[in-house]
């Protein structure tokens, strides 16, 4: 499957029985598990940034410092788009589990579009905020954290596009074989969850906190 030594040495006996073949679990593939373990690690990287932000917020009396105003409208729209895209991508996963490649492609295209809109919205926000990375300690945090998250959204977008690219081949994904689809979905959910924390910390707590 993956060109790995493990796969070529997969036990022959198990695969031969057509009765077992119908089972969803009958293709041990640890990639999803590997991704989940990796995401624990990723979330701690964001954790490091969040903790730094909370520290700095506590150390500075005026937060955000003068001259840095937070816009709420655009980021809220962006948040709604990103959070709802998590539901959209899930429909794609449901579709492929029903062998509906067409449906999966449809939902994944919508997710990709929503992700792209989110990134464009973020770029627009950067251009119109009126302060840059170097302005003050708050803007430092703001750009690093949202930028780093944006990078992750971009990677997620690439994963989704990769799934769409591969799904052109008939039979590449099926109800039995959809590890790539599932991985893109899991990663997308992860990016979403991180954004919710980030949105609360950077926007909501700054304005209402």
């Amino acid at each position: 499957m993956d060109g790995s030594v493990i796969d070529t040495a997969a036990p022959l006996g198990e695969v031969l029985s057509p009765a077992e073949e119908a089972h969803h679990e009958e293709h041990p593939d640890f990639r999803v598990l590997g991704l989940l373990v990796f995401l624990i690690s990723e979330s701690l990287m964001f954790g490091g940034l969040f903790v730094t932000y909370i520290f700095l917020r506590g150390l500075n009396e005026q937060w955000p410092p003068e001259g840095t105003e937070i816009e709420l409208l655009l980021p809220t729209i962006n948040t709604i788009i990103l959070v709802s895209s998590s539901f959209v991508i899930h429909y794609g996963d449901v579709a492929i589990k029903n062998d509906d490649v067409k449906g999966m492609r449809k939902w994944y295209w919508i997710t990709a579009a929503m992700g792209a809109i989110f990134l464009l919205g973020q770029a627009y926000e950067y251009l119109t905020l009126g302060y840059g990375l170097k302005t003050n300690i708050f803007s430092n945090c703001f750009y690093i954290m949202t930028g780093f998250h944006g990078l992750h959204v971009f990677i997620g977008l690439l994963l989704i596009l990769g799934v769409l690219w591969r799904s052109r081949r008939p039979g590449h994904y099926s109800h039995q074989k959809h590890t790539g689809v599932a991985m893109a979905e899991i990663y997308w959910h992860f990016v979403d969850v991180i954004w919710i924390v980030l949105f609360a910390l950077l926007y909501l707590l700054t304005i209402f906190g």
């Binding site: 598990l33 990287m45 490091g48 700095l56 500075n60 300690i137």
Partner: protein, 567 residues
Amino acid sequence: MAQAQLLDKPFQEPPEHPKAWKWYDYFTFNVDHKVIGIQYLVTAFIFYLIGGLMAVAMRTELATAESDFIDPNLYNAFLTNHGTIMIFLWIVPAAIGGFGNYLVPLMVGARDMAFPRLNALAFWLNPPAGALLLGSFFFGGAQAGWTSYPPLSTITANTAQSMWILAIVFVGTSSIMGSVNFIVTIWKMKIPSMRWDQLPLFCWATLATSLLALVSTPVLAAGLILLLFDINFGTSFFKPDAGGNVVIYQHLFWFYSHPAVYLMILPIFGIMSEVIPVQARKPIFGYWAIAYSSLAICLVGLFVWVHHMFTSGTPPWMRMFFTISTLIVAVPTGVKIFSWVATLWGGKIRLNSAMLFSVGLLSMFVIGGLSGVTLGTPPVDIHVHDTYYVVAHFHYVLFGGSVFGLYAGIYHWFPKMTGRMLNEPLGITHFVLTLIGTNLTFLPMHELGLKGMPRRVAMYDPQFEAVNVICTIGAFVLAFSIIPFLINVIWSWNKGKKAGDNPWGGLSLEWTTSSPPLIENWEVLPIVTKGPYDFGMEQRAVMERKEDEEEYEYDDDEDEYEDEDDL
């Protein structure tokens, strides 16, 4: 795809494989865990030699108070890179990357790691990291020490410092990839016939190490990215004049770098738990105690980092909490030490090089561990902070601990890896020189530290000169101790005595295959019938049965007597 084909064809010839790898396969992107293990070990050892030469240069500079062997900037660059290379490119990659990759699949009865290509990628991040570190010398060399505390790191040789940061991010990424791989491999690829209590202790240690690396490494990455932006892109996370704070860096740094100490020693503890029972030919004492203490160290190790920051304006409640947690880590470590000593007790000990290094480790590590306990308490720590006492402590732990353990592992598994035995007289020479060198170099440093000689500086007060001369002589002994080892490895690899499959009579699964193992480890996967440390268990069972029977007979007799009394 492969499955669909298999369904069409009821029987398929297993794919053809070469019997063994050629020498040039070791220089390619090979996905075999054994190749990757050896790649890690050899690369790490080369970096060990480079880092060692830097140490010798520094010790030469420090030999006398007036010595002017290297200029202070170069001294700082050597200081930084010696620490960085020894930690990130020698001990960690050799212990977990080298031995972990080589042994874990063999020990759990798998044909490879869970993600072979990820594994190869993780290894190939290391050489560029080394190149970045060594290349930084052309830009003045990173000067801020291996901790790279701001503001020092933001005001010295910026290009070199950025290269240093990138190098650490590379090895950190490699470490996270490796951890994901180890966790999934041990968790999911253990052969079904192996119960969890039959999992070799090295695998338990690797599991604990991987969990620790998985959660602590990314935090360092976050800190380093912020530092990189501070240096290059005008942000001010760690610049107090612009609202930043330097202590935050220390928190982020030590949240990784204290656990890094356990990343360096836990796999070594695993090696000890394999070498000692096999070379003493005795079941390990306290299997679960050793397995759980690895996990306990992994957990408690995450809550001790502030003991590096007792002098950074830490509030008293924090000092209290982190003192207690630091002292608690000594408990599971002590459990391990006592378990090994108890394993040695009454064993049929083979006093070969592997065993000598293991016993050497026990004694050296106890010295380092005890000075660690003293450093964990603020009153002592504040007194000796940033003095040679600290240098003495962590060299006893890292050299007397980790490096001794790596040597023990090499002497123990060299026959498995190469199919040939190492030469014993050369090995014993190597051990004796290393033991003398270690104590000669690092024991006097306690004295220097208590008297107040600061670390990290090229010049010092002449009152410390006599002791420094001893340390420098020790450093040269250590440097020369490598020579018999190098000769031994190179000569034995080509011409050494043939080892056979199981020269030590070990019971863990790696000894059930040929030496060196086949490309897919076994032709037919072995079935686990007894634990990895059940030395002489059958014999013991027979003995116990006999004793039981005797007791029974005796009881009978007693009853008879009683009966007689009654009469």
